[in-house]
Symmetry: none
Subunit: 400 residues, 2 copies
């Protein structure tokens, strides 16, 4: 029996509610004064909550391994990211609101600009507006090639998602996007023999798309990458008997949540709107995944002060969450994005878990240095989900 089978066997339904707040890229690195972004931020509400919680530092995947958002979130949700690999294409179509079936093939698409020689001169077609994107997607949506129906849906600006629906499709394909300008788009090639027919079909679709877009400069070409089939993960319902929901604004996180069976709640672009959504739907679900994107984006920009402000913003809304009286409240990140590195990193992420039964430790501030001394110690992120379920009294005893 593996860990996931154990959890499946032990899960049970009750009325308790769990709120998981994920501040994307929460963990950081210090500036000269020795304080990380989270430590430099004034976060009286998080500190107060930490003082009543059990704290720790979590490795998203393994010590030393820097995760992308997909694997990092899988861990947070209790899925071994080395066992379940989710192709980027699948996350993109799910985030675009499409529902790929078990046999479907998905891909990320860009509208791009080619010159009269067929050479890519802009991989993003001048970042066309989302409105234009919607219009162009309509030109491509519903094309049929060799019995395969193609669904095309807008994401944002130049980005779209595509689903290819048919029999015997394979995702062992190379990208058509060369990821740089000055080259022609690449032919999609099969990486295994069985994928030959799929590659041919996709290339024919690209030809047809190019034909239909020819009058729509700068969006006169499409580029594909991240071909992937639906990995068919077990859902939160199947594994944990939860009725879960997601309050996220970015497509990728919404996509992953949907894949795991979460209901995507309608919400706005701000944290304030997300908190309102949480309040509005609080009675309807027993698990809430609230994703706050900003600290990660600022980290990627190397913006230490911006991250400090984002975390202070998060702090402001903590009392509104506490007031809802969830049985379990967790605040953590999916990974670290230190401004110093301008990228995701391998550093472990602070976590606090509050519940009536959490066995609070002596940590009284929420930060990387303080959390080292916490009662959760340094743990793998994959253990967070069972800890949340246990604190919500949703796990039965194992064995007699």
């Amino acid at each position: 029996m593996d860990n996931q089978e154990l959890l499946k066997k032990l899960s049970t339904v009750n009325e308790s509610k769990i709120v998981l707040v994920v501040a994307d890229g929460l963990g950081g690195l210090p500036k000269e004064d020795g304080k990380t972004e989270l430590e430099a931020a004034k976060t009286p509400n998080l500190d107060d909550l930490a003082a009543r919680s059990i704290c720790g530092l979590m490795d998203p995947i393994l010590p030393g391994v820097t995760p992308g958002s997909g694997p990092a979130h899988l861990s947070l949700f209790g899925y071994d990211p080395l066992r379940y690999e989710i192709g980027r294409g699948i996350l993109e179509v799910l985030g675009a609101g499409l529902s790929p079936g078990p046999k479907d093939l998905a891909a990320r698409g860009n509208f791009a600009t080619i010159n009269t020689d067929g050479v890519i001169i802009d991989r993003r077609a001048g970042r066309i507006t989302t409105e234009k994107n919607v219009e162009f997607c309509q030109l491509l949506d519903g094309i049929e090639i060799e019995g395969v129906k193609v669904t095309v849906a807008p994401v944002k600006e130049h980005r779209f998602a595509a689903i290819f629906q048919g029999e015997d499709l394979y995702d062992e394909l190379t990208d058509s996007d060369p990821q740089r300008i000055g080259l022609e788009p690449l032919l999609v090639l099969p990486l295994i023999k069985e994928a030959e027919r799929t590659a041919q079909m996709v290339n024919r679709f690209i030809d047809e798309a190019k034909r239909r877009l020819s009058e729509h400069y700068p969006a006169n070409m499409v580029l594909f990458r991240g071909f992937a089939k639906n990995p068919q993960l077990p859902t939160f319902q199947e594994l944990y008997q939860l009725n879960p929901s997601c309050i996220a604004t970015y497509p990728m996180y919404r996509g992953l949540a949907r894949l795991l069976g979460m209901e995507l709640l309608p919400t706005g672009e701000t944290l304030e709107a997300q908190i309102e959504t949480l309040k509005e739907y609080f009675k309807d679900y027993d698990f809430f995944y609230l994703h706050f994107k900003k600290p990660d984006s600022k980290g990627e920009d190397g913006n230490f002060e911006g991250r400090v402000k984002d975390l202070e913003e998060l702090d402001k809304y903590i009392p509104s969450i506490v007031e809802l009286n969830p049985e379990v409240l967790v605040v953590t990140g999916d990974h670290s994005t230190p401004a110093k590195l301008k990228s995701h990193s391998w550093h472990p992420v602070p976590v606090l878990l509050w519940s009536k039964f959490c066995r609070q430790d002596q940590v009284t501030t929420f930060g990387e240095t303080a959390c080292i001394q916490g009662g959760l110690g340094r743990l793998s992120a994959i253990h967070l989900m069972p800890l949340m379920l246990a604190n919500a009294q949703k796990l039965k005893k194992f064995g007699a």
Copy 2:
């Protein structure tokens, strides 16, 4: 995908240099005053480095498991010691500078003394000099038995290493060394049916060796143990894309390093000579494994004060290593060898990791008690290698 496959997939080449200092048997146990050997030692340089590093306590294999040097080092180098078992014979021949091929059988040998009844009266032939050893090895080197060619090379004093080269050799064999005096040497027996021919061949070799040594009392017999075939481990080059080197004086550690693809750098017998070697070759490699044997030997002797002195000696050379400006510097041990136990033990080992991105913790002295509070927490030694690679920015992001 397992952890090692993941690292292989993520490794990338850059200019950064990693120095791993292994003080053999570093971890200890306290005397009445509550201080371990490392805590009793005056180590201002290590303390200063610890204050700028991230620290922790490492379990070599698993909590409670006392490792031999082979498995302990495998862990340090990122190889699961429960998956890869390396026979002692292989380590011995590699340490002796021999290169066993994939089909070869290796063994550790002793020159020993038997009396006229054939009974062993000294398992070490009076610890003959290494010069005598070289001479006797020449008597035995190159013997052929049943199409199997035997290579014999000196190690040190009474110890030598042997390689049997031929087809269909098996290492499922018992030792000929009874590990005590007063007995006759044992016949080598096959542990599986397929090994019968190999056992016969080895016994015939022993007879021939005894004949050739008969006039060379006290070295008038050979004893074999640790028959082992080449386990063919993936190398540091294959796994981590590193260009690694080893600065060790003892054969076993050199043997293991060679097995993993490390270049064995010529060095002297003292730590001072080893540090000189590090300086001399610093520009030529990107990974340096520096092995300091003395604290382990003194631990085995139960010599608490000797261990304290050895660790103070190590401390003296820390600034010379720091001055080389490696991107990552780690000081740790392969296991504990408390003087109190006069043997290896299961106790976790202090570790410090310094890099520009290490996220330093509040530990300000290098010792077992202090390291418990470190940012690495209590971790398995197998995670050290990915942490070193990450801090050297030699690992790409996992997933999107």
